[in-house]
Subunit: 99 residues, 2 copies
Amino acid sequence: MNEIFKALADPTRREILRVLRQREHSAGELSELFALSKSTLSGHFNVLKAADLIEFSKTGTTIMYRLNTSIFEEVVSHLFDFFGSNPSSETQPEKRSES
Amino acid sequence: MNEIFKALADPTRREILRVLRQREHSAGELSELFALSKSTLSGHFNVLKAADLIEFSKTGTTIMYRLNTSIFEEVVSHLFDFFGSNPSSETQPEKRSES
DNA sequence: TTGGTATTTCGCCAAACACCGAAATAATAG
DNA sequence: CTATTATTTCGGTGTTTGGCGAAATACCAA
């Protein structure tokens, strides 16, 4: 969870996710959409991979990145943990765990 | 939006939100729940305030913090921006704005 | 094997972040 | 006015982050 929120904290990474939502893109294609060096983008891909927010596949030298949409459920459910409307029935107040 | 995601990126701040979800707490009460100095906590309160994630009211020298639950809607709707299931009907691909 | 293309990893640097203790501010009581 | 309590602001330190270019890796084609 922590890695997901950390990954979402950067505007460039959120923009990458938004682009990938449309369709998958190679690392090179993505680098054409951002005014950042390829090495910098590659770093962002690593963060997004570590958070399991993107998936990828290699064909030849080209790496295709695509969104892992299933993570969405997980994020929203954790947001309910802070903001949901019926605290006592959904979580144990004492626990205060950080998963 | 950026400030909200930045605020959520820190585990301590997420824990503060989770505590505040139960009921409002004063700064002092909160400081008893965390092994951090009051000045550090105060810094976290500032970040959460800037993101509009918490509200507060003063009575005497005591400051009561409470969760701003209305922000939840906003965060989820932005998450749909990345992860929602029907991209072309919900957003303009060309826009790529960061609000 | 040599060369070219796609991408990542490696140092490096500056800015941002999380933390602390001490000093400052603010309200209240005596 | 002085003391006490609650909280924040300030100045400092160590760590993490985001950026870059150069070097390394990987694959393919000639």
